[in-house]
């Protein structure tokens, strides 16, 4: 890791954000509480982490989801995971003003996981799912959604009774 990267980590530590050596080589994870999130992400954007690869959401199964903002800096060749744990009913602040792509990332996260975003006017617009299935598909990527039951109810099974054995 370069000099500037180490300074950045030290500065973040001084603000109370601890960095952990994360997955894969070259990736550092920052666990950020929801209240400090906008401050951290804007500071990172200023310091050169202006490339948002994607926003990943992971269902932690205890009424909370973890959002991972995958930011990268071309100058330092360093990747950071900014991780925020957010409850099902809580709303996250949007990063639309920093990256216009986030409009669509956040739409998909709401549709699949049910996390709302304040500041993004279209977050609740349906994006990928059709919305006209016989049983309602609500937040399908959560672990509590049973995809086998969905498939049996909507499409049924094909019976090969006449041809077996």
């Amino acid at each position: 890791m370069s000099e500037k990267g180490i300074d950045l980590i030290k500065w973040l530590a001084s603000q109370g954000i601890q960095a952990q050596d994360g997955p894969s080589k070259g990736i550092i994870s920052l666990n950020v509480p929801r209240e400090q999130f906008i401050f951290v992400i804007q500071s990172l954007h200023r310091e050169g982490f202006d490339y948002l690869a994607t926003i990943t959401c992971v269902d932690l199964q205890n009424q909370h989801c973890e959002l991972i903002y995958n930011v990268y800096s071309f100058d330092l060749n360093m990747r950071l995971f900014v991780r925020v744990v957010v409850g099902y009913e809580e709303k996250m602040p949007t990063v639309l003003h920093l990256w216009p792509n986030a409009r669509f990332y956040e739409r998909e996260i709401y549709e699949m996981f049910g996390i709302g975003f304040t500041g993004n006017p279209d977050y609740a617009k349906p994006f990928i799912l059709e919305g006209n299935d016989p049983i309602e598909v609500k937040f399908p990527m959560r672990k509590s959604f049973d995809s086998i039951e969905f498939s049996q109810t909507n499409y049924g099974d094909r019976d090969y009774g006449s041809k077996k054995s």
Binding site: Y160, K163, K164, S165
Partner: protein
Amino acid sequence: MAKKYTEYKQKKSLIEPLLAIKNLFQKPITVKIPAEKREVSPRYRGFHTNDLETCIGCGNCSEICPTSAITMVHDPSLPDDEPGRKPQRPWMDYGRCCFCALCVDVCPSGSLSMTKDFVWTSYNADDFYFMPDNKGIDNKGWQSDPETSIFHHEAVPVDILPSDERKKDFVVVTQGYDREKALAESMRCMECDVCRLACPAQMKIGDYIREIYFERYDDAVRIMLEDNPLSGVCGTICTHRCQDNCAISLRGDSLSIMYLKGYAVKQADYNKLLDELKPEQELGKKIAIIGAGPSGLSCAFYLRKAGFSVDIYEKNAEPGGMVRYGIPSYRLPNDIIGKDVKLMQEMGVNIKLGVEVGKDIEFEKLTSEYDAVYIACGLQKGMKTGIANEDAEGVWQAVDFLGQIRRGEDMKVGKKIIVIGGGNVAMDAARSAVRLQMKQHGNVDVSVICLEDFETMPAFKEEIEEAMEEGVKILPCVGVPRGKEGVLVRDGKVSGFRGYPVKALRDAQGRFNPQFDENAHTDFEADMIIEAVGQGPDFSFVPESIQEKMEKVAWRFKVDENYMTSVKGVFAGGDIWNARRDAISAIADGKKAAEGIARVILS
């Protein structure tokens, strides 16, 4: 230096595209199928073909299929109880198949392959759910071989003491696996359970190997104890029919199930398991068992677990039967037997050692005092070959020879020893003789003479190899015809052996009928001959009055499905009943007899 492709001369022209018209006069590259043939690559993944003769129905293909396209369907025309095979065959659903060929790569027998066909039309959608068979076997595309398969075809070898060290004394030949090797070997198991049918006790092999892999040894032993209470013994000296029928052994090395079992038993803590094995209630019924061999001990374990009160009468000083007094200590050390027997004694099984039924206590007393008697006395007498001069001094039966060594009594061996027989007992006798010769004379001169040739000798291949490493000479296809002089005697003592070459072992119908070349014979020098051709029973403790009432099949007492003889309350099992006569079959008999006794007594 920058590469050539980094520069591009940009141009714009209206005329140049018209030069494409020259393609009008060139041969088109289209292949007019089906009028012209297109060569399909030798690795193409088309429709499936299954060689039904080699398919074993293990179900590995249906386990790995990512789209659940393969179902194993029971085929009633196949036999139900063939070891190493299951009576089911795969059926493919091409509506789901994604042609990834993972099923081909995981197939242990290599019967499943993919062909180069990819065209199939039909008006009926049900036609695409079918069983692949031998059609298309000449048109194979993607095939598998063990190097590129998904299963691991090479076994983890076990460390064996070199022959110079081990023949000096009765030291244990192999310690089995250690932690790393056990993890690497148990990882290989495909959990297809094809081996389970082959085990006489039907142990849940795939399940306990999975527990061994995740280092949950107590759970592994708990699963083993459901079918086999002498798992430590079987983990060291079993005839391992499961390994012979392992699916991976068809094109690779079979899984070393026996060593894994032995390792798990060594690591498990039997004290933790004891609480679950103590009976929940006492039924108040008493059962007597004659013989503390594998069959008797196994029957005692299951009866005690059910709540019966069990007494075992054993004539020797230690429990274990043939496993303790027939198998040499360099193969099975005493502490392994002790660990298994201690568990039973702590459950409450009462083993009366040194009490011989027929001498110290009468058989009628047992039948009158106990609710049931289970005869598990085993085959204590060696079988005679029938050749002349068998009773001369210096001719031993292997059972007696090995038993005396195991009892710790003195045994003086000759300088030149001949062992007659080709089975495991002959190897045991020969190798014990080697060790005694090294201790008493300092050099080895043991020969094993048997009727069979190397391919058909019934002993384990490992035993034959290790015996030859230790200096035993094996002379196959030698025997003595009936009536000819076999054992040569001088001054009343054994001086040699005359052997005749075997021309054929079995007759046209496959029956045992050895034919000899009676004109050529070889004389071997020997001052000790050990006969290891078989064992027979000693029923002298059962009084004549009761023996007359018992129905017999040849010399065996006939038993029904509850293992009860024709005399009420008298049960029998183990070596004296079953045809295979190894430890695991005796243990399986013990368990089934315990269930039979429980059914009869409690009804």
